[in-house]
Symmetry: C2
Subunit: 363 residues, 2 copies
């Protein structure tokens, strides 16, 4: 139950947390250089590995920082200027990977996609046998709501013996993703997406092959150094004071997901939430310009109104946050998230507000 | 009032928060790309500037990360390999500044101090007129509890026209520090020290001179890039999803400090807490090996027991955390913090536990 005056949050992070996760946020944050806290981190690692079906040898690090902190840590620690990468640049997050490669002098070729479009096997085949050493992809390009095929990308990497890095920030536990099956070397996510905890922690799962690269590469940063993070992680610790409270929330949330049937059940729940919303908005003046949607969110283009204006109307007059876009997409695209503590009744509330705006001639 | 079974926390971070700050931790985390959240960040900036008495032109950035993230951001953004720095290396945090300079190829000379000792004017005078361009100091070397003289260091920097960087992580609002008077260019602190909020945010205040250096230096990182952070800060935003919940806690805390009399009153409160403790432990078998203590903490060397063993005894049998040391100091030093939601009665509880350990022959 929401409290009176509490906003209904359909953004894609931070999202609404369940009451038990909020309760942890309200507790004193414990001192953390203890075996008790180490046990929490080690349990978090085991459950993360279970939910992405990571190989036994994989390791997990928890970075106090946004998803971008982990994207940068991976680019800096796993790759060097001797690499030659493919970056799937299908929106602002894909583009961010190219900027990270620029900053750190990692050679790359970007596959630029038209907004809303997926990368195809045909596009990839052109790069077969050309000496590429790795692929960087945001498997769900969260800025535009396009979900790429992790299996197809994995086959491309496998046949070219490439490192396969998946930023699954908003896709982890929203869409099926099997690290072992697709052969991924890195999977990234964050605390404020489907994990529905407070923002402040991002998470990196590394395969044995990725770990070997981290080990042999020169350290170019202290805060984002994965060698140090991995060494500390062996005993369930972090090199620097982490966001201890959020790591405790993540622990509770991961255990609940496990109790409720694991990754499969969580993904099914979010899929049902997405399908319910997509069914209910039929007839409203929006277009969906995505070739392949994630269960995480629905990207909507209003046919007769400004997307940003709709965001402001819902925020100021209905107590509802949808997720606005910035930059070029500000007026043409908004997004409705399907994760966090949301119900099908919440979808009804949002759809009723949109219909009310329609009645008032605002959309 | 602590809840039953809640630990009494005398560490130096995370520390105990007041009930109203905890209540914010228990609230839903709002969406943040809004004017409402920008207003919070801008208010945080204004109050931070007020409490360090920053010059009008100074700016503040909030980094989602530990204090080390901000130390690294400052080293990377304010300095280049063309600089020549002095680093006060009086413990593990001072030493960390030298490691950051090594990683980023910034030339430096370290002034290595014996554990417990302060830097003196005589030591500094040797470096006058030698072309040094900046000084890095942890004004309170938190690892050993030594507080350096910010005025003396400031005069050294002023007469040599050097950038003056103060990591005041545990000293901010525990000891007097006037950015304008001492002529500091950078002051760093964190959410989990005297601000007594959850860990996950560090804060950097930059003078106009520091801002100009950030502006002209090449960007070598995305996540720790201060150019991007400062550009976003103009409108009260951050480049990446921040720890929104902790920034809201910081807002409430800064406003309370202001209501309660500002920096002067907060520092007086912590000073009284420290003096009360130092008075009450007289006669216990501990030595204080610090030439100059901060109000933030008291460093104690047991004369007849292992410091780490005392930490474990208090944790496991008395429900009390003191702050252990790692590495070489593990057995010889522990620290008792004086900030967070602590009272003089809490000092009584700790002292009684220590006396009980003494009675049992454990110390």
């Amino acid at each position: 139950m929401r409290k009176p005056n509490e906003m209904l949050n359909f953004t894609v992070g931070p999202v609404m947390s369940s009451p038990d996760i909020l309760a942890i946020g309200g507790e004193q944050v414990p001192y953390f250089r203890t075996q008790e806290f180490s046990d929490i981190i080690l349990e978090n690692e085991a459950l993360m590995k279970e939910f992405v079906h990571a190989p036994e040898e994989a390791k997990v690090v928890f970075i106090t920082g946004s998803g971008t902190a982990s994207m940068e840590a991976v680019v800096m620690n796993v790759f060097t200027p001797a690499d030659k990468l493919i970056v799937i640049d299908g929106g602002s997050f894909g583009h961010r990977f190219t900027e990270l490669c620029d900053i750190h002098h990692i050679p790359y070729t970007s596959i630029c996609l038209e907004s809303g479009h997926v990368v195809t096997d045909e596009m990839l085949r052109k790069f077969d046998g050309k000496g590429y050493t790795g692929l960087l992809v945001n498997i769900h390009e969260t800025s535009t709501g396009v979900h790429y095929n992790p299996q197809m990308l994995g086959e491309f990497c496998r046949r070219n013996d490439m490192m396969y890095v998946i930023d699954a920030i908003s896709s982890f536990l929203a869409d099926p993703l099997d690290m072992t099956e697709v052969g991924a070397d890195v999977i990234i996510t964050g605390s404020q997406k489907v994990l529905a905890c407070a923002p402040g922690i991002s998470i990196i799962v590394l395969s044995e092959r990725a770990l070997k690269r981290v080990e042999r590469n020169e350290t170019k940063t202290m805060y984002l150094d994965l060698k140090g993070a991995l060494k500390n992680a062996e005993r369930g610790q972090t090199p620097f004071t982490p966001a201890v409270g959020i790591l405790r929330q993540i622990n509770a949330r991961l255990k609940h997901i496990k109790e409720d049937g694991g990754a499969i059940a969580e993904i099914a729940k979010i899929k049902a939430q997405a399908e319910d919303f997509r069914k209910k908005i039929k007839g409203l003046p929006f277009e969906i310009k995505s070739e392949s949607m994630s269960n995480a969110l629905t990207p909507l283009t209003p046919t007769g109104a400004s997307a940003h204006e709709i965001f402001l109307q819902l925020k100021d007059n209905y107590g509802i946050w949808i997720c606005p876009n910035g930059g070029e997409l500000k007026d043409t695209l908004f997004r409705v998230g399907h994760f966090g503590a949301l119900t099908h009744e919440d979808n009804d509330t949002l759809v009723a507000a949109l219909k009310d705006l329609q009645k008032k001639g605002k959309i």
